[in-house]
């Protein structure tokens, strides 16, 4: 079968890094990624399925990999050669779930690796924090798309464990379904944000009427999905009041951010000013200088939480300037090596955390603090019990449907045009696009199930980002 294969090849890695300096995604043709014929991956054991990808997205972490900018931290957590692609909607081929349209939970955690008993993280449902991702029946690989044994979405076939498969709800077309994985990442981050806000409001005795200010920096795929997730969560009964600021670089991102629920959208240079306005705090004038409205300023107070979806050293530095003392900075975009002044982190007792992938969510934690403060039993209103740990994918599918996130798919490419696709993804913002995907549906001889045909009919290839999606029926899974 045809697949895009990523090999360990240092000269090509260096070449891609060099060329990527001229622009993300430009080095795909000379880097370690190549289109080749490979054997379909073998089923590693019982409980595994063959999955034929329909659409597979190009993620920011994929771009970092192809640009040669990934952190070396990940080296022991992948196995070469591997087929990238972890944002996947596909169809199960063979076995008891034959023909089922599924989105793939990419994390290769204990249960997937055949490890029993599972690690403490997996035991509590936090499979994204699995401590055994380099052990068990599989070679190292933190996710499908980084593991030599499983294959990945940028090919004609991969294998996935039953625990990884999430049945796509009826009515979600392929564009929407491929957005479930990135939305799950965003939702996982958003649940953390809401929990952090709720806890901080209790801790700091913040007045019920005063909204907490959350700023989302970056309005690419992950940023937009995070906005949608936060907007959905804040509408849940008992959720703390939020003002949602979004930092968007490009006009279409600004428009989409507003459509998805941003209260205020500002360009990157305006983060601290937008936060200052929302929080009504003071600026701190530069030493020996006058107060200025230009550029980034340090604020005396700041946002309660800053969600950094850009994850660059400059966005992180800006976040530290605009978050309040004892505030929270969440890295949602994948960061790399960075040189950053951490003095404000120390001085202002800022909490820095990451938000990686997904698994299950403890929704009671979101509103628990609120509940303890004497408010109504909001969990009960939300139809939740403290024991509920719904799959992030189930919640994400609802957000995708609710917010019409299928509209974020801007362009689809066949894998033999991978250089164009990666270049497009690398310049998506400048080119008015959001999510670029590989379209693997039109492979000659590909078997199409009834579900696939129905979904393909609902999907409209070529539709521009932001085009109306229409009402999408709610899918299966937990309700937010």
């Amino acid at each position: 079968m045809k697949a895009l294969l990523f090999e360990r090849n240092l000269p090509r890695f260096a070449a891609s890094r060099l060329i990527a300096a001229a622009g993300s995604g430009k080095g795909a043709g000379v880097g370690p990624l190549r289109l080749t014929d490979v054997d379909e991956p073998e089923l590693p054991g019982p409980g595994w399925h063959r999955v034929r990808p329909l659409l597979s997205g190009i993620c920011g972490s994929d771009l970092a990999l192809l640009d040669g900018k990934s952190s070396r931290y990940f080296e022991p957590l992948v196995s070469f050669p591997f087929v990238p692609g972890h944002e996947i909607v596909g169809v199960v081929e063979g076995g008891p779930r034959d023909g089922e349209r599924v989105a793939v939970e990419a994390v290769l955690h204990c249960a997937v690796r055949g490890i029993d008993p599972v690690c403490p993280s997996c035991a509590t449902g936090r499979t994204e924090d699995c401590e055994m991702i380099a052990a068990g029946d599989l070679p190292p690989g933190l996710q499908t798309g980084y593991c030599a044994a499983t294959g990945g979405g940028w090919s004609g076939m991969l294998v996935a464990h039953d625990r990884q498969l999430f049945g796509v709800p009826e009515g979600l077309d392929d564009d929407a379904a491929v957005m479930i994985e990135p939305t799950a990442c965003a939702l996982h981050a958003a649940t953390g944000v809401i929990a952090s806000v709720a806890a901080a409001r209790l801790r700091d005795a913040i007045d019920d009427e005063r909204p907490s200010v959350v700023a989302v920096v970056g309005a690419g795929t992950l940023g937009l999905c995070t906005i949608a997730a936060l907007n959905r969560l804040r509408r849940s009964p008992g959720a703390p009041p939020l003002t949602l600021i979004v930092i968007a670089k490009h006009p279409h991102q600004e428009r989409l951010a507003r459509m998805l629920g941003a209260d205020r959208v500002a360009p990157p240079s305006e983060l601290s000013r937008a936060v200052r306005r929302a929080t009504r705090t003071h600026q701190i004038p530069p030493a020996g200088g006058a107060v200025s409205v230009r550029g980034t300023h340090r604020l005396a107070g700041g946002a309660d939480v800053i969600v950094d979806c850009a994850a660059s050293p400059s966005s992180f530095t800006d976040a530290l300037s605009a978050v309040r003392p004892r505030g929270h900075v969440v890295l949602v975009g994948m960061p790399g090596p960075a040189r950053v002044d951490l003095a404000p982190l120390w001085h202002r007792e800022i909490t820095l955390s990451g938000a990686y992938a997904y698994g299950t969510e403890r929704l009671d934690a979101l509103f628990g603090a609120w509940h303890e403060a004497g408010h109504e039993d909001v969990q009960g209103q939300a139809g939740l019990t403290p024991q509920d740990r719904p799959r992030t994918f189930a919640l994400a599918a609802e957000v995708v449907a609710d917010a019409g996130l299928g509209r974020l798919v801007s362009a689809r490419y066949a894998i033999d045009r991978f250089e164009d696709a990666v270049a497009h993804a690398g310049s998506a913002g400048r080119r008015g696009a959001v999510k670029i995907v590989f379209d693997l549906r039109r492979r000659p001889g590909a078997r199409r199930t009834a579900a696939t045909r129905a979904a393909a009919a609902g999907s409209q290839p070529g539709r521009a980002a932001g085009a109306p999606q229409g009402d999408t029926p709610r899918g299966q899974g937990a309700q937010l």
Binding site: A266, A274, R280, T281, S292, V293
Partner: protein
């Protein structure tokens, strides 16, 4: 020879191109045949001995006021309030008329043995003046005598201990003014009346008031009911100020008002062509125009701005009157009208304006897009008596570069207003309802207003409200040669050339429209019949 009155020129084939201000530059536009150009009267003759005229006014007050020397006595508290940096425009050559007046008042106070004298710059919600600006307005002698001793103050509308609430007017308007002024035995207000809107009760009721008080007349409803605010008797802005002024008087605050008018001799010799009628330009005028145009086109924006803002106007005092507020202001208004009014027969479909580099709120600063809007739709549009120069549903075409640029110190809330508020809506009513309170009470803007040189947080709102009457009246606003993004953010239409603008205007007002150009400088006000 007495100065020639204003007149309306009918443009024909032989009419030379008309000069338009274009920010820190100019445009010469060939207006269509049949257009009208409203030229202001020539500058009135200056008073030959202003100090003598001032003394005369103080000794022979209008209305029921006693001569100033008779109101001064040892042991009294005297507060001299004066108009701030927003007047005159451009700043005048030394000595500033405020200096002349205040020196005379101080001389009389000293003669009467008054020790407790404090000077207060009547900022209202404007930015504080710098020491240099205060020295320029008051003269070195006055500045050095008062400032080092803490006796030269700038009104702080946000100082809770510095303002006092005097109650409410019959219509429920809060009257809250400067405490020092309110508790003085006499307030002498020194005014410069550049346009008919200035002066009268507005001097104290606005210049020395707090936001709590000013908000009663600086709002959309008032501005829409002021037709125009250059015509006191048809201006709700003035009615409100008059109610407050009378309430202040009733509360026992004694005010001795000194109002001055300046002639419209606005620019020094090298810019003299600006106030000549184009067909009368001499060779020297043409050469000056060419030299200035080339220099401004070639120089960096910052340098051009600096050159223009260093202009000191040869304005000269054309009248001075003192005494009871209303009697004084009636005389002042007559003098302003005599200098600026031009009778115009009927309205027009299209009104064109060339907007200069300066307005009351960007002295030594940047004319940001909100100020461009205010200058065009607020000030120039309202330079009428009777009815607007442009008909309802007509088009206003303004020429200005409208840079997306803001002064970082003077206009912090303007940036947020432009980025946050105008990005959402340009409807003054919605803006007032949704955003004003938040900006007016933002602690950071309050801090900057009080301690830095920033306009109050609510000030950009007032600039927008100033446009409210025009926005309601006009069918469209077109800006020629402006930054397209900034113009669109204002809700206006950008045009590259006057020809394009006229074509766009025809889409609104129909074919073969009438066009009138209000020529400036100097200032002119249309008396539309």
């Amino acid at each position: 020879m007495s100065p020639r009155p204003g007149f309306v020129l009918d443009v024909d084939r032989s009419t030379p191109p008309t000069l338009f201000w274009h920010g820190e530059g100019f445009r010469l536009e060939k207006l269509p045949e049949g257009s009208r150009v409203v030229y202001p009267p020539e500058p009135h003759t200056a008073i030959p001995d202003p100090r003598h005229a001032i003394r005369q006014a103080l000794h022979h007050p209008l209305g029921d006021a006693l001569p100033l020397p008779e109101q001064l006595r040892p042991g009294m508290r005297l507060t001299i309030a004066f108009d701030d940096v927003s007047l005159p425009l451009p700043p005048m050559r030394r000595p500033d008329v405020r200096q002349l007046v205040i020196e005379e008042v101080l001389e009389m106070a000293a003669t009467a043995g008054v020790d407790d004298v404090v000077l207060v710059a009547a900022l209202a919600l404007h930015r504080r003046m710098t020491d240099d600006e205060l020295r320029h307005a008051l003269g070195e002698r006055v500045f050095d005598a008062f400032a080092p001793h803490g006796l030269l103050l700038q009104h702080d509308a946000e100082d809770p201990t510095g303002v006092v609430h005097l109650g409410v007017t019959d219509t429920g308007e809060d009257v809250e003014i400067n405490k020092r002024a309110a508790e003085s035995d006499l307030v002498v207000y020194v005014n410069i009346n550049l346009v008919a809107m200035d002066g009268g009760h507005k001097s104290v009721a606005t210049g020395l008031a707090s936001y709590r008080s000013i908000r009663h007349h600086h709002n959309v409803a008032t501005m829409r009911a002021s037709r125009s605010f250059m015509d006191q008797h048809h201006s709700e802005l003035h009615s409100s100020n008059w109610r407050m002024g009378r309430h202040i008087a009733k509360s026992g605050v004694k005010i001795f008002q000194i109002e001055t008018t300046l002639n419209t001799d606005t620019f020094p010799n090298q810019f003299r062509f600006l106030q000549r009628r184009e067909w009368e330009w001499s060779l020297k005028d043409r050469a000056s125009y060419a030299a200035v145009s080339r220099a401004t086109a070639a120089a960096p924006e910052r340098m051009t701005r600096s050159i223009f803002h260093s202009i000191r106007s040869p304005h000269a005092m054309s009248s001075v009157q003192a005494g009871e507020v209303e009697a004084v202001h009636a005389a002042t208004t007559r003098n302003v009208y005599a200098q600026q009014l031009v009778e115009v027969d009927g309205q027009t479909d299209i009104l064109t304006l060339g907007l200069p580099y300066i307005c009351p709120y960007n002295v030594d600063s940047i004319m940001n897009p909100i100020l461009v809007a205010c200058l065009g739709l607020g000030y120039f549009f309202n330079m009428y008596r009777g009815k607007p120069l442009v008909r309802e549903g007509g088009v206003l075409i303004m020429s200005h570069p409208t840079p997306w640029s803001f002064h970082p110190v003077h206009h912090p809330s303007y940036v947020d207003f432009f980025e946050e508020v105008l990005a959402e809506t340009t409807d003054p009513v919605e803006i007032e309802a949704r955003f004003e309170k938040s900006y007016a009470t933002d602690p950071w803007y309050v801090h900057l207003y009080r301690t830095s040189y920033a306009y109050h947080g609510v000030h950009p709102f007032y600039m927008w409200y100033w446009c409210a009457h025009a926005l309601e009246h006009l069918g469209s606003v077109i800006v020629v040669g402006g930054n397209r993004s900034a113009v669109r953010r204002l809700g206006f239409k950008p045009a590259s050339t006057m020809a394009d603008a006229l074509e766009m205007a025809e889409d609104v007002v129909g074919p073969s429209p009438t066009l009138t150009h209000l020529h400036s400088p100097p200032l002119a006000m249309a008396d539309v019949r």
